[in-house]
Amino acid sequence: MTTHSLPVRTDAPDRTPTEKPAGRGGRRLLRQRAGRQHHAGPLAYVLLAVMALLSIFPLYWTMVAASTDNTRVSQTPPPFLPGPNLFSNLARAWDEAAMGKAMVNSLIVAGVIALSTVMFATLAGFAFAKLRFKGRNALLMLVIGTMMVPPQLGVVPLFMMMSELGWSQQLPAVIFPTLVSAVGVFFMRQYLSEALPDELVEAGRVDGAHSLRIFWSIVLPVARPAMAVLFMITFVHAWNDFFWPFVVLDMTNPTVPVALTQLSAGYVRDQSLIMAGALLGTLPLLLMFIVFGRQIVSGIMAGAVKG
């Protein structure tokens, strides 16, 4: 597996010697000039509009279904316009699915995981990007290798560990296994090798600052934009994580996705209520995407260096 998305060039590079070679797979979080200069024609706009519609419609329809009542939802043709009951259904979902508790739980879980991921990823990313130590490349390869290990496969022993620790049905059981992320470490390394000049680190050394001090006063300010992006992306993943929370938590203490399964578990299905719950569970992230869409898009694109 190659570790950067720049195509591996086997032919001679067609750069003029005066140009500085780009850093290995390094990528700024800035928007780059597109590789092609073509303007979109009408067909491209139409196709993109269709894609956008397909992306957004299921969520729009969630809102529609959540705002009508059961009899209306189950008629044909299905409703396409919002009805009057949105807030009453949201309130019911909030009460019946323990949504309030689930929201708080998800907020804690996703917040703690995102914070610790960012902190440890920045520490490790800085070391991999700027510090020289024995076995650096081997360890970095190991980090990349861990991305290939699906965490789910260890679910049985993990469950045993948690019950031994007395953490079954408790939030730490969800938080601890995901305190760090290989993708995060790699992402910060890529960013810092580009954004942090060696001279700054050297200057800190000359001033006699020890490594933690350098990290605190020199690296953190430079890393801040990438840290914000990593925080958001990690938050999204942690908020939406399903398998492990579903296994280790129960309905008395759920995260949002786990609480949603409760809504649809019965034989008698209250469709409007289910959709209201789905909408509630998605709203916080939707708001985040509306406010910080640009940063999240650029973050994911910068993370594309992974392949």
Partner: protein
């Protein structure tokens, strides 16, 4: 390793310690020793947290899974492990549910991954044009990525509902009989794949887009000077230019497909969820793993399924490598 790094850390001043300006301390031999310790040890201390957590909560469980799979363990008495050697594996090999789940995992994996990546490629190509509102289109294609498996599966379950679902209604308007999306095997697998495709196409498109934008513009210019059409430019410049990203997304999607769990569970609507339909028609390996452990209380068997999934992944990548080798030899 860990002990030496903690010493190195302990030897350091705590941050915000004595507020001396540096330089004075480094002149003294003790300071020099500290400095050396710091330079040598700090990097290990910085990468240690990642490796410690990974070792404890990912690597150790993975290895321990293989050990548990050689035992009988009941969910109610997790501390009682009875050695049965390879019995679990023999039983699994003879269990039709396993082969069914394996087949479902593969078929759903293919019908969700292939169209998804093709569409992502097309979408990335469109997003790569210079246009108005490009940010809107990018964020819009990421909306599904912001939706949790649970929410997405609930919505699509309703859209695919047999009696009043939107899809069957739409089919009805053009004179096609309603499809029993949940009860019939292939429709169910198509519906579940739709959920996966909807959630991940936009995300993959952005990965491709990032790679496309890293292709030097002069390659396109050279191609068009050679008289290549737009389509030829796409196949001869764009695709080779993002090859490694394509490989990467295939790897990620394969790992994701192997572990498919939430979509079929919720699509089955409660009672049918864990079994993957009344006839296991869409039970995946992930569901089987959960059913063995948390519904039949057989943790040993559950671990066996997990290990089988791991072997499957390894096998897939070995095959992929072999194909790559053969290809490079023949070309």
């Amino acid at each position: 390793m860990a002990t030496s790094t903690t010493k190195a850390l302990a030897g350091e001043e705590p941050p915000g310690g004595p507020g001396r300006t540096g330089g004075e301390g480094t002149a003294r031999p003790r300071g020099a020793l500290l400095h050396r310790l710091d330079v040598k040890g700090a990097p290990y201390a910085f990468v240690a947290p990642f490796f410690v957590v990974f070792a404890a909560f990912s690597f150790y469980p993975l290895v321990y899974t293989s050990w548990i799979s050689l035992h009988d363990v009941e969910l109610a008495t997790l501390d009682v492990m009875e050695w049965v050697a390879f019995d679990n594996y023999v039983e699994l090999w003879g269990d039709s549910r396993f082969w069914n789940a394996l087949q479902n995992t593969l078929t759903i994996g293919v019908i969700s991954t292939v169209p998804q990546l093709m569409m992502a490629l097309g979408l990335a190509h469109l997003l790569n044009y210079r246009m108005r509102a490009s940010l809107f289109f990018r964020v819009a294609s990421l909306v599904p990525y912001a939706t949790s498996v649970a929410a997405a599966a609930l919505v699509f379950t309703m859209i695919f509902e047999r009696d009043f679902g939107m899809i069957n209604w739409a089919l009805g308007t053009v004179g096609i009989d309603p499809v029993n999306w949940e009860a019939d095997k292939w429709p169910a697998q198509v519906a579940i794949s739709t959920i996966v495709i909807w959630r991940w196409t936009g995300y993959n498109a952005l990965l491709y887009l990032a790679a496309m934008q890293a292709i030097p513009a002069d390659r396109y210019e050279a191609a068009s000077l050679d008289g290549a059409s737009r389509w030829q430019q796409f196949t001869h410049v764009t695709i080779p230019g993002i090859r490694s990203t394509i490989v990467f997304t295939i790897v990620l999607s394969t790992i994701g497909a192997t572990q498919l769990f939430g979509e079929p569970l919720i699509f089955g609507q409660g009672p049918n969820g864990v079994t993957g339909g009344a006839d296991n028609q869409y039970q995946t390996l992930g569901l089987l793993l959960y059913e063995e452990g948390w519904k039949n209380y057989q943790m040993g068997r559950s671990a066996t399924v997990a290990w089988a999934m791991f072997m499957l992944l390894v096998l897939v990548f070995v095959v992929q490598r072999l194909i790559k080798r053969l290809r490079s030899r023949t070309s």
